[in-house]
Amino acid sequence: MTDVPVTTKKDWATDQEVRWCPGCGDYSILTALQLLMPKLGTRREDTVFVSGIGCAARFPYYMNTYGMHTIHGRSPAIATGLAMARSDLDVWVVGGDGDLLSIGGNHLIHALRRNIDVNILLFNNRIYGLTKGQCSPTSEQGKVTKSTPQGSLDRPFDAISVALGAEATFVARTHDMDRAHMQEMFRRAHAHEGAAFVEIYQNCNVFNDGAFDAITKRNARQSMIIDLRHGEPIRFGVDRELGVVLRRGRAEVVRVDDVGIQTLAVHDETAADPAAAFALSRLAESVDVPTPMGVFRAVDRPEYAASVNAQIAMAQAADGPGDLEALLHSQPTWQVG
């Protein structure tokens, strides 16, 4: 990426009127990314945003890059083909909790295990926004929605647990109320080679307003957000009086004084074994308990397209560059006349 032209936020914005409800959390995510892109040292023409369908999925229309607004749930699969064909591109996938965890769940976990080089941003508002308020795979049990007047019976997924169970190499969580934190996660995701999965707690102020207030409201954050920092003991709380220990394979929130700093778990996002990260993901059991934010896991594993290109190179080294004439004569032949 030599001499990438200097750009500003507005270079990355399109002329299209942004069409989300006033107050929607999607705006702050869009702003965070539009402000970040000029700092990533990439070109607009080398960047592609791929999405499915949903409010979140309208995202590509607002980024002055290449973009595909595809069909519901299929963006990870479509982005997989694009990333395989064009490893030179910077490919982002944006979608909602319905788009990526309900109808698109399978494409998501397969893209993760294959380590496709795409940055996947899951806008989790725990509701179906675009279709006006049905429950989603992240809606809490008992939630009353248009489709569940007596309360949802489905146990929700924890997006981080799902990703870690699917062999993901980069897994992080952030939220729409903290631009700096979002940008840090996006920057890390972009820097990661392979599939980078970022869950963003996002407020749908029309159909699920305040879903994350207990955690993300300014005054709540210190005591409700477990800020994961690589190499540091996991601590949080107004006076950092709380911490996390890993006991018998599971993570527990403790008072630092009760256990002593040295017993606190030291966060290692690079651990080859995802078990500890998974244990941490289980802390976010509901929307009103301290919830880890930050990078859960970031490990190196060959990125898919690179391996694909390597096989092509090997094949060409072995059989020489493709020669059609030779191919057509590669089976037994005989002459007539």
Binding site: I71, A77, L89, Q331, W334
Partner: protein
């Protein structure tokens, strides 16, 4: 590489013969058939083959369900089908004899492995008494040989264990049949060396068995004399024997070279399409990318993503897969990007008959999407024609920026025929160019790019990521014609619906016109598509050789249909359409041209027999 058969005394020349090898799935029948095919091809016969596998799942050895068969038709003249009924049946076990006997022509020759006709096997095949002795085979010429024993014997001194030796008995049969039908020997021995290279014991055993079989023919007292089918006078050229799926895969590679952009295959395994994935995954040196996706939807999605990136996105599947891809194909129609969907048709509905052939997905290809979402449809007519059909499908997809459905079927996919290898120079060109700069001036006077600004053929620019200045967003929501911005305008939607229809309709101006084979001045025209070509052609020829006038129009393009088809049809008073479905093309012709097209339908998991069509055509001519 060619070699010739050593000719022996008292050989009677005949013009054609249909041999059917049958045995247990474990007996290596397909291999034997393939080898006999190559030998015949190298010998210069024209030929056509029809492998018939048992259902996908393996059945217990010796049972009827486990029978695997391979039919080959060889002739000293041009032929177009693997033959209706075999005149020679090679049965390696009782089950094979039982399940295949009914196909044999009366008075045909039966060659059996005597050793396998024992109690247990007879029972498994459902024979109460031994068909070799109970008169079941009266009227047939029966030739029995203790193949297993003789094979073991031949291998005795090779240090090959009897159990392993037994595995070579199919080569004994091959040797015997090669002698009976005067096939070359050397090439087969050479081939054995190559095929089993590294496994010396196996090579030794197979060579010994093959030679033993051949010798058995020479020495033993065999009823009926030796038969030979002379080489066919085919058009001069270099020939290779090719199956439909191989030809199709090579056609895709050729097309990507003609277009000058890489090939991307997104596929999910399914019978009978998997071999396209297998073949292309071996050709990465052509820059081909193959991706085995998690399902068919991901497969076509990945192909579409690759197309957006400037590759030729292709997906290969069969009926169930096409059904699943429907929504994504609709997206491709809306995005107006190149995409090739290959449907190797098989018996349906649902899982149906996975290993049997059928051609009942035409309507699915034509109408299997929500809303008005027209796509061009191309169909292959013979195994080798799959090569050119694939090139044509890619050409339309790339030049007209549209998803294209390419129809083949199980019969073409696995069947084979000699193919006069075309000169690479003569392959049809595929011409297009990626958009490289803005195509208009914006309101502010600055250069701008409109992704849906069209050329005279209504084709929009293909601007791929990485191209400066041309950043744009496309999606499945209705777009303003020109700017491509989301538009809910009623008038614009009407315009876009009309344009999408016109885009496909105008392709009629960019494809070959329909041509009439047979007698253009006949009263009856047979209209066909796909793999029925061989049987129709033969049936038409037979009628014409009996001085009955018949015309034959075979469609390469099902949508749009050739511009001259309507007027051509108007020139006949009778239109009949043989199809391996209940009349899908007939319905399209009736709706389009209001002609009383009549259907000749066969939906039995098998191709038409020439005799069936000959009878049907005769009836049509007579009534």
């Amino acid at each position: 590489m060619t070699d010739t058969a050593e000719q022996a005394r008292e050989v009677c020349e005949i013009d054609r013969i249909v041999i059917r090898f049958a045995g247990d799935s474990g007996d290596g029948i397909q291999l034997t058939g393939d080898r006999f095919t190559s030998a015949s091809a190298l010998f210069g016969n024209d030929l056509a083959t029809l492998p018939e596998f048992p259902a996908e799942i393996r059945a217990p050895a010796g049972t009827l369900a486990g029978v695997s068969a391979f039919q080959i038709h060889i002739a000293d003249h041009e032929i177009t089908t693997p033959g209706d009924a075999p005149t020679v049946l090679v049965a390696m076990n009782p089950a094979a004899l039982r399940s295949e006997l009914s196909l044999l022509t009366g008075g045909g020759t039966i060659i059996v492995n005597h050793d396998s006709f024992v109690e247990r096997n007879l029972a498994k095949a459902g024979y109460e008494t031994d068909p070799l002795t109970d008169g079941t085979l009266d009227g047939y010429t029966v030739l029995t040989a203790p193949m297993t024993e003789l094979t073991k014997l031949a291998c005795q001194d090779l240090g090959v264990k009897p159990r392993d030796a037994e595995r070579s008995k199919n080569f004994f049969a091959l040797g015997l049949v090669s002698w009976l039908y005067s096939r070359p020997v050397e090439s087969t021995l050479k081939w054995i060396e190559a095929k089993f290279a590294g496994r010396d014991a196996v090579i030794a055993a197979n060579r010994a068995a093959f030679s033993a079989g051949h010798a058995y023919g020479e020495t033993a007292e065999l009823e009926g004399s030796r038969i030979s089918v002379a080489p066919a006078r085919l058009r001069p050229g270099t020939y290779t024997n090719i199956t439909g799926n191989t030809a199709l895969s090579w056609g895709l590679i050729a097309a990507s070279l003609q277009a000058g952009i890489p090939l991307f295959l997104g596929s999910y395994p399914i019978t009978p399409a998997s071999d396209v994935l297998h073949e292309l995954s071996k050709r990465k040196n052509f820059g081909v990318r193959t991706f085995q996706a998690e399902d068919e939807i991901a497969a076509v999605g990945a192909a579409l993503g690759a197309s957006y990136g400037g590759h030729i996105g292709v997906t290969a599947t069969s009926g169930p897969g096409v059904a699943l891809k429907s929504e994504t194909i609709g997206l491709a129609v809306s995005l107006e990007l190149p995409l090739v969907i290959i449907d190797i048709q098989r018996g349906g509905p649902s899982t149906g008959l996975p290993t049997k052939t059928e051609a009942a997905d035409l309507m699915l290809a034509m109408y299997g999407r929500h809303g008005e979402a027209p796509v061009p449809i191309v169909a292959a007519r013979s195994p080798s024609d799959c090569f050119f059909a694939a090139i044509e499908a890619v050409r339309l997809a790339v030049e007209h920026r549209t998803p294209v459905v390419l129809l083949s079927d199980g019969y073409l996919a696995n069947g084979s025929e000699p193919w006069s290898i075309p000169d690479v120079e003569d392959l049809p060109p595929i011409s297009f160019a990626f958009a490289s700069e803005p195509n208009r001036t914006g309101p502010d006077g600055a250069p701008a790019f409109w992704p849906y600004q069209r050329d005279e053929r209504l084709v929009r620019p293909w601007a791929i990521p990485g191209t400066p200045e041309l950043m744009h967003r496309i999606g499945g929501i209705e777009k303003a014609n020109g700017s491509g911005n989301i538009s809910y305008e009623p008038a614009n939607h009407q315009i876009m619906v009309n344009i999408r229809a016109a885009r496909v309709a105008t392709i009629a101006n960019h494809i070959a016109e329909a041509t009439v084979a047979g007698d253009p001045d006949a009263g009856l025209v047979v209209v066909g598509w796909g793999s029925t070509w061989g049987a129709i052609t033969s049936a038409v020829e037979r009628l014409r050789s009996r001085d009955r006038k018949v015309a034959h129009i075979h469609l390469r393009h099902l949508n749009p249909m050739p511009g001259n088809l309507g007027s051509l049809l108007a020139g006949f008073d009778r239109v009949i359409v043989p199809e391996m479905n209940t009349g899908q093309l007939a319905r399209l012709l009736r709706a389009e041209y209001l002609v009383d097209a009549r259907t000749i339908s066969k939906v039995a998991g098998q191709p038409f027999m020439v005799a069936e069509l000959e009878a049907a055509f005769t009836e049509a001519l007579d009534d």
